[in-house]
Amino acid sequence: MINSTSFLIVLRFILLVLLQVLVFNKLNFFGYINPLIYILFLYWYPIKQNRTTFIILCFFLGLFVDIFSDTLAINAAATVTIAYLRPTIMRFVFGVNYEFQSFKLNNSTKAQQFTFLALLIIIHHLVYFTLEIFSFSNSLLILQKTFVVSISTLILGMLFSTLFSSKKE
């Protein structure tokens, strides 16, 4: 059981990195919209797992995407931030419920899943574009890019999560 979970996580890791660098980094919709779809890794990651492993994994997830897209370590910084904040976000979205053994992402309402994903994406993108532009004279550009790219990631993320979610009973 443990093995199949870890296998799934590793497989997801590799597929999401490849999907990100080979497909979504080349999308350039309207010139600059490249959804950062690899964040779904954090959305799908099992809740009852060791947090240390999770944060380290997320760091490497970001770093791999960075290496491929020549973005220094911006993705790593943004991803490790949301990895750290994930329990806080979950407590905010799902209430104390999520700490129970029986809690499953699939059992929560659509609205909760949406909010959870949206918060992950917005925080990630905010950190990402702040670091990318890194001059606060351009704060309008940061907000604009965060807003537009967040929406595109959110739409695609919802599509993917619906497409690949395990069946509800």
């Binding site: 350039n28 010139g31 290496i67 020549d70 220094l72 370590a73 911006i74």
Partner: protein, 274 residues
């Protein structure tokens, strides 16, 4: 002591987070001091191979267009050849040649970031090293930044770090080519041209002679719009690129054989100055 250990255990997740964040910040800001981010770029073996694999598949879709461009360029070169614009072939031997041209292919391209890099399929094994110029048949593309055995990354002119000497064709008024409006990937900016220079929209901008990377007169683009900058004594010129930065395949890498000599001489002069 017990308390310190307790503290560490209690906040270990937070400390781990800080630690990893610090590492990523170091990677991010170190690169400002030029080429220290040696391994954090797409010229390494793994990403290079994956990009080559993906390029092998996707390059088929653009073959016809690529062919047309090459034929077009051949035609232009033949025009020059028959009109004797070039030197006599007998003049070209290894002592008079200043530049060596190598060819390569783009295997990954980006233009939506603040600092865009292009990955090409030639590296140190093909004698590509840092600071060589990269052009296409239409115009300038960027400068080689990092190299590995078989791949290199090129800092595109679409980068806020890019700064290239450029001038107005058939004159000697030169300025710096930068990229300030970082959302428009077909327009770069030429700054530091004095206001007394007569300009017309549509004038051609080419590389200047001040660079030890690019030869003079490589096409860049045409003037799209110009205005005075804040100091009111220099122009701020929008240059529309000849290259479609979203669509590049075959490239040429320029090796300036005199570069080392020029740099050494300049360094020596500066050293004598002090």
């Amino acid at each position: 002591m017990q308390q310190i250990i307790n503290f560490l255990i209690r906040y270990k997740i937070f400390l781990l987070y800080l630690f990893l964040l610090l590492i990523s910040f170091i990677f991010t800001f170190q690169s400002h001091s030029y080429h220290q981010s040696k391994f954090l770029n797409s010229s390494n073996y793994i990403s290079g191979s994956i990009y080559t694999f993906s390029d092998n598949i996707t390059s088929y879709f653009g073959l016809r267009e690529e062919n047309n461009r090459l034929v077009e360029e051949n035609k232009r070169l033949r025009d020059r050849l028959f009109n004797n614009i070039l030197l006599e072939p007998s003049n070209i031997d290894s002592t008079t040649v200043d530049y060596e041209i190598l060819r390569g292919r783009v295997i990954n391209n980006s233009y939506a970031d603040q600092r865009n890099y292009i990955t090409i399929n030639k590296g140190e094994n093909d004698s590509i090293y840092q600071d060589m110029g990269v052009i296409t048949d239409k115009g300038i593309l960027g400068i080689v930044e990092n190299t590995s055995d078989n791949f290199s990354t090129v800092q595109s002119i679409l980068s806020d770090k890019s700064n290239i000497n450029a001038k107005i064709k058939n004159s000697n008024h030169f300025g710096s080519l930068v990229w300030e409006n970082t959302t428009d990937y077909n327009v770069v900016q030429l700054i530091d041209i004095p206001r007394l220079v007569p300009l017309t929209i549509g004038d051609t901008i080419v590389t200047g002679a001040m660079s030890s990377i690019f030869p003079e007169d490589i096409p860049i683009g045409t003037i799209k719009r110009f205005d005075l900058d804040n100091s009111k004594s220099f122009y701020f010129i929008d240059v529309e690129l000849f290259n479609d930065m979203t669509n590049i395949g075959n490239i040429y890498i320029i090796k300036n054989l005199n570069r080392k000599e020029v740099l050494e001489l300049e360094a020596e002069t500066e050293a004598n100055d002090q």
